[in-house]
């Protein structure tokens, strides 16, 4: 297929169709309403289901019902709407239902604003609803990557029988970039969905539930889920290294749109003879903890700099990964304010100054 120019929100919608999504449920919210508007036209063309629900609460529960058929289904929303969906997300995680949820994040807390933010990191990766569960969380930084990860999201949801969340800030949803779609999504074979609730024909009834009145059964279910999350940690960690070399003195850790801004800063600094590398997590759960640790403890690295559009949320996971072996610094803008490459450069220059002083002190 030829390259087309698409808005992130439209590309995400089209990618879902390419991955075989047959049902989409939605409630309007800025900055992701284009997904719904795009699919309101496209779902009819491909014979899938488009349904606008009465609230995000209902939409997430419609997704629960729809996922029980074993068909690929998804929803998209933005921060306040995702908060309302947490009930059903917890139930679906507990009942081990595959589905895909996209959060095009805006500034919060509360009604917040409509401009880009990454302040739903905790909500996404630490479990936004109640109970012992995790979502598999993917974070694209380009529109093409949004397409690729959206298709992967459906595969991973089926592979693990778990809700998968893709998070992008408002910029990912709203900006346009040229993208390419495969004619059809090639994916490794998946086991048959023997658990679906599509009629007790010649078999015992299937009950899809998260209720276990016996505490020992509930505990067993929770540990089974935990094992699944451990398997994700072993098999699904994804990340990208940008200009990482032995010449780096500083390693940036950043994801999504912020990583794009950091790339520009890194490229500009390179021209000025300053070498900085970046570690960009693509999966936020499982978080690339050992991989970040390995990069951070390298001899040439004096400082780690976390850059995100929040007041230091992913920062906590990076600190946990680095285990105090190197100083972990933070630079963040939030509330819809997007950092400029110049601001990132400034932070790096400050770190370099600090490093020089420390070196001078040591010599003295």
């Amino acid at each position: 297929m030829a390259r087309v120019l698409m808005k992130g929100n439209e590309a995400i919608a089209e990618a879902a169709l390419k991955a075989g999504a047959e049902g989409y449920f939605c409630y309007p919210i800025t900055p992701q309403s284009e997904v719904a508007e795009y699919l309101a036209k496209r779902m009819d063309e491909v014979g899938g289901l488009f349904l606008q629900g009465e609230s995000e609460l209902a939409v997430a529960n419609m997704l629960f019902g729809a996922a029980s058929t074993g068909k690929r289904v998804f929803t998209t929303s933005s921060s306040p709407g995702i908060s309302l969906m947490q009930e059903a997300i917890s139930y679906m995680a507990g009942a081990q239902l595959p589905c895909v949820i996209v959060n095009i994040m805006r500034g919060g807390p509360g009604l917040g604003g409509i401009l880009p933010a990454q302040s739903d990191y905790f909500q996404s990766v630490k479990g936004g609803g109640h109970g012992d569960y995790r979502l598999l969380v993917l974070a694209p930084s380009t529109i093409q990557e949004s397409v690729d990860l959206m298709m992967l999201a459906f595969h991973l949801a089926d592979k693990y029988r778990n809700p998968v969340m893709m998070i992008g800030d408002g910029m990912i949803g709203q900006m346009m970039e040229p993208v390419e779609f495969p004619d059809h999504y090639e994916e490794p074979e998946l086991p048959e969905k023997s658990w679906v609730a599509t009629g007790a024909v010649g078999r015992k009834p299937h009950v899809i539930k998260s209720l276990f009145l016996d505490p020992y059964m509930l505990e067993k279910n929770s540990w089974e889920l935990h094992e699944k999350y451990d398997q994700m940690k072993k098999e699904e960690v994804r990340y990208e290294l940008y200009k990482v070399s032995a010449k780096n003195k500083i390693m940036i850790v950043s994801y999504g749109t912020t990583a794009r801004i950091c790339q520009t800063a890194i490229d500009q600094l390179e021209k000025e003879g300053i070498s900085v590398g970046m570690f960009r997590p693509i999966t936020l759960f499982p978080f690339p903890e050992p991989q970040i640790h390995k990069e951070a403890i390298k001899k040439n690295i004096n400082d780690v700099l976390v850059v995100e559009m929040s007041t230091a949320q992913m920062m906590e996971d990076v600190e946990k990964a680095v285990l105090g072996k190197k100083p972990v610094n933070f630079f963040g803008r939030t509330g819809g304010v997007v950092p400029a490459p110049e601001e990132v450069k400034e932070q790096i220059m400050m770190l370099i100054e600090k490093q020089k002083k420390t070196k001078a002190k040591k010599k003295a």
């Binding site: 120019l5 604003g113 709203q174 520009t264 490459p341």
Partner: protein
């Protein structure tokens, strides 16, 4: 005056009410901003005072209002919500907008939101347009999913006419793939614009493209006037 502007024939637009519509993401805002700049710098004898009105009620980001400061430096009045409302996704139609259209003085470039959904707002201003002479221009980008074919463009144009209660007067060929745009992209797009022009009997009023790409194209290959573009609505890392 830049190189491209000298090599190509400039758009034959001298002012008045110019309404820029088209599909989502066809590039209406960049075209509107650059057209306003062109009018104020090259056509100042005929335009009178130039203002640009951001009528985008569908897009929350990358709207022409983001270039307001730059435009005001050139003497272009930018009609936008002020204060915190500048950032809102509310459908704010300022009373000044109607006034600006009704006054019939000077030149107004209206940057309208995408698709028929974005054009509905023009219907609400129908009274102001009554009896007015205007240009309603369709921004065509052949690399966008719903306007990749002549049929797609005709369908969208008819939807926009219904929603806006106005009639098209021309087409702007603005086919691009952002940083991946090349000569072929532009010429393919122009071919589609001509096809749509043949079907609708509407003229291709001009072609718009980034200046650095235009610089490398043989002027003979482009048989319509050209508006060179300078991008003002940039991504944070650009």
């Amino acid at each position: 005056m830049n190189l491209s502007a000298m090599r190509f024939q400039p758009p034959a637009i001298s002012g008045g009410i110019i309404i820029i519509v088209g599909g989502y993401g066809s590039g209406k805002s960049e075209v509107s901003i650059n057209l306003a700049r062109y009018l104020v710098t090259s056509q100042s004898e005929t335009t009178g005072p130039v203002s640009i009105v951001d009528l985008d009620i569908v897009n929350p980001y990358f709207r022409s209002r983001e270039a307001a400061k730059e435009l005001e430096k050139l003497g272009i009045t930018s009609v936008n919500p002020s204060g915190g409302q500048f950032y809102a996704d509310l459908p704010i139609i300022l009373p000044e907008i109607k006034g600006t259209i009704e006054r019939r003085e000077g030149t107004v470039v209206l940057d309208v939101g995408g698709d028929d959904a974005g054009s509905r707002v023009l219907g609400s201003l129908a009274n102001a347009f009554e009896g007015a002479e205007y240009e309603l221009l369709f921004v065509l980008n052949a690399n966008r999913p719903f306007t990749a074919t002549a049929e797609g463009c005709l369908k969208m144009m008819s939807e926009i006419e219904t929603a806006s209660r106005l009639k098209f007067t021309g087409i702007i060929s603005n086919t691009h793939l952002l940083e991946e745009t090349n000569e072929e992209t532009i010429l393919d797009g122009l071919r589609l614009s001509h096809r749509v022009s043949d079907e609708t009997s509407l003229p291709v009023r001009f072609l718009s493209a980034l200046e650095n790409i235009l610089d490398e194209i043989d002027p003979k290959l482009i048989d319509v006037p050209v508006l060179p573009l300078n991008r003002l609505l940039l991504k944070p890392w650009e």
